[in-house]
């Protein structure tokens, strides 16, 4: 099991107090491999939030041994994650890991994120770009939009995030409680807005360099025109959040 077999409470191993939350939309092809990898690495508490998929995502999740929350219609990643946080808060999980169903995230990186939580962070974000060498290929439009966004966020939060769109994250118990109520719900806001929200609320957010693979199956959920529109929306929301910019930013750990 976990290298740090028992945590502060002494009895329950760290892995059994951690919930892996997988938002999934039409991922029947890649989900089995992802769940198998999680299982063999010892992550037994996995919640797949099936967001109105039209394929057999929910059935594959159950076959893979995960718990399945089936939303009656599509709420987007934000709504799915809030569902996951609610579940985690009610079941008393101490930590949550957000993990993609498409096989882009590496199971081996999970302990590295959680280690930062052990060191006192509230949120650890797996970043593709924090490492010196660039390991992740992406399209031009998306790269440009993300660059713009990065600048905006640096201006607004007063600190640098290298990968604001990463969906590979670990959350502490207090952040689970916070997000069970306040996770941003709009399309694409699950990444950037949640990051800033956590900062504004005074939680400490750190980045951890990780490598991500190209998608195993299925299609990235974002098309270019929509992407641009939604980035504009996110920017507006960020600008309106700037008025709430708190003095606590100075406390955010680097």
């Amino acid at each position: 099991m976990s290298p740090a077999a028992a945590d502060a409470a002494g009895t329950v191993p760290a892995r059994d107090r951690t919930l892996v939350i997988i938002p999934a939309l039409n991922e029947e092809q890649s989900l089995p491999a992802v769940l198998a990898a999680l299982r063999s690495a010892g992550w037994h508490h996995v919640l797949v939030v099936d967001d109105g998929s039209r394929d057999r995502t929910a059935a594959q999740a159950a076959r893979g041994g995960a718990m399945v929350a089936r939303l009656p219609f599509n709420l987007g990643v934000g709504g799915a994650m809030r569902t996951g946080f609610r579940f985690a808060a009610r079941r008393g999980y101490q930590r949550a890991v957000q993990f993609d169903a498409d096989g882009q995230h590496r199971v081996d990186d999970i302990p590295r994120l959680l280690q930062r939580l052990d060191e006192g962070a509230d949120m650890a974000v797996g970043s593709r770009f924090a490492a010196a060498e660039r390991t992740y290929q992406q399209g031009r439009v998306r790269a440009g939009a993300m660059g713009m966004l990065r600048v905006t966020i640096t201006l607004l939060s007063g600190r640098r995030f290298s990968d604001t769109s990463s969906g590979f994250r670990a959350y502490s118990a207090s952040l689970i409680d916070f997000f069970a109520d306040a996770f941003p719900l709009e399309y694409l806001s699950d990444t950037v807005e949640s990051l800033l929200l956590a900062c504004y609320a005074g939680f400490s957010v750190v980045e951890v360099p990780v490598t991500m693979r190209v998608r195993e199956a299925g299609r990235p959920s974002t098309r270019h025109v929509r992407l641009v529109y939604h980035y504009l929306r996110v920017m507006l929301v960020l600008a309106s959040m700037a008025s709430r910019r708190s003095r606590r930013l100075g406390r955010v750990a680097a």
Partner: protein, 135 residues
Amino acid sequence: MTSLRVRLIVLAVALLFLLFIALQVRWRRLRARYLVLWAAICILVIPIVIIPAVANGISSALGIYYPPATLFLIAIIVLFAINFQFSREITRLEERTRILAEELALQRVTEDKPFSDPEDVASEPARPAAVRGGR
């Protein structure tokens, strides 16, 4: 200013609309609170349009030389306010629907729980309720 004919038409339209919304409420296609809203608007519109002195008086008070422009201005402001209020109500309704959807999903998790059973976690005492706003 406005001719008698125009005033009669507006009066007729306003009265017909009043009748129409009353019927909507009766057929349960409109909640009573919206009846109040739209009826109030109809009833306010009528004197402004029917009695030229009202529009003229408001116009000169506002410094508008062309009284019909006053009517447009009032209409635009009222419609804008109503629309904005509707956006707020839609936001609230959507939030409620979403919470219902999430709760439904969470109910179903416990019902058809698959192989892995988080018994050990479930038996732990739950944390105290969330503290809003972080630490």
